[in-house]
């Protein structure tokens, strides 16, 4: 569906994208992650044919972006980071303009307009000039603009930036409701926004892709171990000694004591070891009271930080 191969883009002496490759199947949702200035927007601009790559190829549904840009544009709905609105137009006139420019007319246009207005919650704002809209409604108008021609592919550059939590949930729900029907790439630098919507991510840093895959796999790869929190009511030193002797435990980190002097620990072990079972058995054998026992997944933040660090270390070695 979307195929990005070895794309490099330079602006003067800065390298915005450095041999970036990734691909996307029909119906997939891809979270495009990275710090500000990592090259997310540049990559999206190249896919939407706004910019041309210096090197490498990009194909959308098998169509090369340099050879037939108009055919590619027709298949894509694009919301740039800087939402492209005409402040002097009303929402209705604006959507009519984009609809016409995208070749929609008559009943088909009315049907799509109705759908977009409904899906983006713009009913009350339809007649208002865009310059009077709040930030949230501007974002939604931008999204309606990207959806007006019912595109196969949606490219959304930071669709939730500047929105309040409720609005973010609204946009998230909208993207989720399109899952399966449309191929979607959305970028963000707020990591928590990704996991509710999709599992597939590409992480980009300083113009290079540092990770591409499912969030869970990436977490495993990045952290290399599982994390378990255990709390036992007994003498701290003795508990620590016993825990360290359990099979598979690589690390036992002492945590601040819990209520009524519970000895709490964070344990690390390779993936696949049944550490919770082992701790539960230990408590039963020794007759210690077990107050806390749970596995903690690594957050996307941890993964992201670990991957960026790893990438930096690799690069410094090379240099």
């Amino acid at each position: 569906m979307i195929e990005v191969r070895d794309v490099t883009k330079r602006f003067g002496t800065t390298v915005a994208l450095d041999a970036v490759s990734f691909s996307l199947q029909r119906g997939e949702i891809l979270g495009f992650l990275g710090p500000n200035g990592a090259g997310k927007s540049t990559a999206m601009k190249i896919i939407t044919t706004y910019l041309a790559p210096d090197e490498g190829q990009v194909a959308v549904e098998g169509i090369d972006v340099l050879e037939q840009p108009l055919a590619v544009r027709g298949r894509i709905g694009y919301q740039p980071e800087n939402v492209p609105l005409y402040p002097d137009m009303s929402v209705h006139d604006y959507l009519t303009f984009v609809g016409r420019a995208r070749g929609l007319t008559g009943a088909r246009f009315q049907e799509r307009l109705g759908w977009c207005v409904e899906a983006c919650g713009l009913q009350t704002e339809l007649k208002k000039p865009i310059q009077e809209l709040s930030k949230g409604f501007r974002q939604r108008t931008g999204l309606a603009q990207a959806l007006i021609h019912d595109p196969e592919i949606l490219i959304l550059d930071e669709p939730t930036s500047g929105l309040d939590p409720l609005q973010i949930i609204g946009i998230r729900e909208l993207i989720k409701s399109l899952a399966g029907q449309k191929t979607i790439i959305f970028s963000t630098h707020v990591l928590q926004e990704v996991s509710p919507v999709t599992n597939r991510v590409v992480i980009i840093n300083e113009g290079r892709i540092i990770a591409d895959g499912m969030i869970d796999d990436l977490a495993r790869r990045a952290m290399g171990s599982n994390r378990i929190f255990a709390g036992l009511r007994h003498d701290v030193d003795e508990v620590e000694r016993s825990l360290r002797q359990l099979q598979g435990v690589k690390e036992a980190i002492r945590l601040p004591a819990g209520e009524r002097g519970t000895a709490r620990f964070e344990l690390r072990a390779p993936f696949g070891t049944d550490l919770t079972g082992a701790v539960a058995n230990l408590a039963r054998e020794r007759n210690w009271e077990l107050c806390e026992l749970h596995e903690a997944a690594f957050s996307l933040e941890d993964t992201f930080i670990a991957l960026t660090r790893e990438d930096r270390a690799v690069r410094q070695e090379v240099a």
């Binding site: 601009k45 706004y50 910019l51 108009l70 544009r73 492209p84 609105l85 420019a101 995208r102």
Partner: protein, 241 residues
């Protein structure tokens, strides 16, 4: 063609969505008609020679004021990225914008039509000269407009686009003045008269103003307009790389 019409409609209504349109039309008519009518009754001649004679200088200010926003505003609001990712050729977008600005200029120019009507009532003017005068005004406007839209494409800021457009139009105007051509000839022999012939607009415009419809003059305005519009499209295509 339908794409050009879509862009045209948006751009033409954009002029009237802001007070600029009305201010522009009022100032244009007051200045042009006022400056023409003051000596008109003293001379007592039923023609519009002076009216058309003033235009090359007047339009140097008026046309860039219309063209400055054409690209610069889109770049500021971010709609430039929308226009360049719609399934429309950049030449079609450019043409839609250019024609919208020209249509607006024609509306303003149509506001001066009471003058020939009045002259017709007062005396016996040469209708052909007035017609070719208006044709000259439209051609002159279209040349300045193509220079202005090109300048607007190069820049992000409307005021800079206005000043650059004005400067470029002024240079085209100056190159056609014999005294300027003679001075340049003094520096590099032959260069001044060459530029006067091929780029300077005064000579070509004056023959239209006198009522002479020569193919060469029409070709001059149309060719130069097309050159600047083509340059504008080239820049739109080249920007990607």
């Amino acid at each position: 063609m339908r794409n050009v019409a879509t862009i045209f409609r948006r751009e033409f209504s954009a002029y009237f969505n802001s007070p600029i349109a009305y201010i522009f039309i009022i100032v244009f008519l007051v200045l042009n008609c006022g400056l023409f009518m003051t000596p008109f009754f003293l001379q007592g001649q039923a023609d519009m020679r002076d009216f058309f004679g003033n235009l090359p200088l007047f339009l140097i200010f008026f046309i860039p004021a219309l063209s400055m926003r054409l690209w610069a505003e889109d770049k500021r609001t971010g709609t430039f990225e929308l226009l360049m990712t719609l399934p429309i050729r950049s030449s079609e977008v450019m043409l839609g914008k250019y024609l919208a600005a020209m249509a607006f200029f024609l509306v303003a120019l149509a506001g001066t039509l009471p003058i020939p009507i009045m002259i017709n009532a007062l005396g016996n003017p040469d209708g052909g000269a007035i017609f070719s005068g208006y044709l000259g005004a439209v051609l002159l406007g279209s040349l300045y407009m193509s220079v202005g839209i090109f300048a607007s494409g190069l820049l992000r800021d409307q005021i800079s686009a206005f000043i650059l457009g004005m400067l470029a139009c002024f240079i085209l105007f100056m190159l056609g003045i014999p005294a300027v051509a003679a001075t340049i000839d003094g520096w590099i022999s032959g260069l001044g008269s060459f530029l006067q012939e091929f780029l300077g607009l005064v000579g070509h415009y004056q023959s239209l103003q006198r009522g002479v419809l020569a193919l060469g003059d029409l070709a001059y305005f149309l060719t130069l307009t097309a050159v600047f519009l083509a340059l504008n499209t080239l820049w739109l295509e080249g920007r990607k790389y």
